[in-house]
Symmetry: C2
Subunit: 341 residues, 2 copies
């Protein structure tokens, strides 16, 4: 099993440190009822202007940059692009919460690493359990059950769990400007997809209603599965073995496998999205490449080249070199989250 | 490489025999302009009645059998369900035609099996080349090029190639009643998918406009692919190694991986579709399972339990046992093909 080597989730182990309490006092409401402006939470500026010009041309049949409806494929990374990803990918918090929830049926975990570390909130010990430990936690919390069972578990978690420092539901930590962008693209007959390194079954369980993106337009990392049919009640069981890592070159490869068309619009925030943006940039049709640059330490987090999570280094250079749109969260976004600041 | 063992294409080797000339004299036109009847090429009978009742209930919000729009997923097998598959899967004819077209650049093939057999139309010798021979032909004709290059090759073939006995374009050998069924479902907000043992890149190259099903709703057998990016012109290359065989239990597994929802409607014609129908039948929502039964030796072909291609044996028993809809081509369909009989 090469699960750990490739699973981005694993990286976050090194980031799960003592959680700081962030300032949540600066609450403001988002503008959702402005009629003329399709992107009301975006400040006027180069990024907003470029997006609107792209969509206007794509939908103008007289423009040389017109895009036929069937080719209007838009792919979005999730972690760090559509919602926050600090201090660790939210899926890791799910795994940690899940171990705690399962512990009552596993009294032996009290004395067994890496479970003991989680139950005692000892992140240092969890770190020390290394790759083997994370692998064990992911297998325990994400596999060995049917797809239906996993879906129910994630749904329940998403409806109650809160972010460790912001202390709000994870589902409140989506980016309001990106929700508007998704809506704007769909209103112009773009088909919006998520293409994420996160687990596909994890995302499908609760993100469709948040983003307005149906399950079948969510692409992600997945485990092997097994068909079991004893009699008339078939089930599909998730096995503890990675089948496809939807990160870096895995993104365009999966887009080609599953969608079968090159996107005309792609948005990401890290070097893990670079190949998806390069693939999109190579489209013969006019295409749009967007990087969300995390520059707002006050309202969200500020990080790029040096970050272990969502590192944006080579991508930052390529974006500059090719003139891709770099969204400066601090300058370009009036609000970050829909429900609070 | 376990390509041959699982690739359904390989089966057809044993069926490619001397081609009989079929009777094509009984030409009739299809009815496409009848307003009230959504399925004008279907004779009145149990199958048509059941389909219309299912769709009427699915779209009636007051019915206990109502299906929310987002759950209206309909999956169709391709070979033998949406178009003919005799005397061999059409994709095998593509491979044979392709070898002939490539031969001018390969003078050595004149003395090299299995190419020699194809160039001399010696199907007996092709048979004798066995698994290894078919593997070689599939690798030669389907892989080792970019996805774009393969698409161009297939498009060109589909626009000129003709069926060996019917002597019409393969694209004319789709089933008019099934085109009407696809259209009827979409008109009632069902999302129609192809889920086929055929090659996904082969189907995507020319079937979308024929069926009204976009590339991203075509699921099939696929090869491994490789991302190559030297500079700013990334390509995806198809490798001669099977990645996923979309047949039997591979169908529901792939549906779960790619669509992430259980279908409410599934149509097939062989035992290779049985697991997809079982998965659909296990939906908590009301669901519809349909088998096309090839009973018309005069207008199409008649075969079921004993056929090496599209064998329907266990599926026939299960359909009877569970009351799934068995479409009797001879009795239920007024016409078979849109353009000729």
């Amino acid at each position: 099993m090469s699960l750990f080597k490739t699973l981005p989730l694993a990286l976050c182990l090194f980031i799960v440190t003592a959680f700081k309490t962030d300032d949540k006092s600066n609450i403001s409401n988002t503008e959702t009822s402005v009629q003329k402006d399709p992107l009301p939470s975006w400040n006027e500026g180069a990024a907003k202007k470029a997006i609107i010009a792209f969509v206007s041309n794509a939908t103008n049949s007289k423009s040389s940059q017109f895009i036929p409806v069937e080719d209007r494929i838009a792919t979005f990374d999730n972690d760090g692009t559509l919602w926050s990803e600090q201090p660790a990918y939210f899926q890791l918090f799910f795994a940690i919460d899940r171990v705690k929830a399962m512990a009552k049926d596993h009294p032996e975990w009290k004395n067994q690493q890496p479970y003991k570390a989680i139950l005692e909130n000892d992140m240092e010990a969890l770190k020390q359990s290394g790759m083997k430990g994370i692998l064990q936690i992911v297998a325990t919390t994400h596999t060995g059950m049917t797809t239906n069972e996993f879906e129910a578990v994630v749904k329940s978690w998403a409806s109650t769990a809160k972010h460790p420092t912001k202390n709000v539901p994870y589902t409140d930590m989506v980016f309001q400007p990106m929700l508007e962008l998704l809506h704007y693209l769909r209103a112009n007959q773009f088909k919006t997809y998520i293409v994420s390194g996160g687990g596909v079954n994890f995302m499908r369980a609760f993100l469709p209603s948040i983003y307005g993106i149906p399950e079948e337009q969510i692409i992600g990392t997945r485990f092997k599965t097994e068909w079991i049919n004893d009699g008339d009640k078939p089930i599909i069981k998730v096995l503890p073995e990675l089948e496809f890592n939807d990160d870096k070159e895995g993104k365009p490869l999966n887009i080609q496998k599953i969608i079968g068309k090159k996107p005309v619009f792609a948005a990401g925030n890290s070097d893990g999205d670079l190949q998806m943006l390069q693939w999109t940039a190579s489209n013969k049709l006019n295409s749009f490449m967007l990087y969300v640059h995390h520059t707002d330490a006050e309202r969200e987090w500020a990080y790029d080249r040096e970050s272990h999570i969502g590192g944006l280094d080579k991508g930052l250079d390529e974006a500059t070199k090719h003139g891709w749109t770099l969204v400066d969260m601090k300058k370009d976004w009036k609000v970050i989250y829909p429900k609070y600041q």
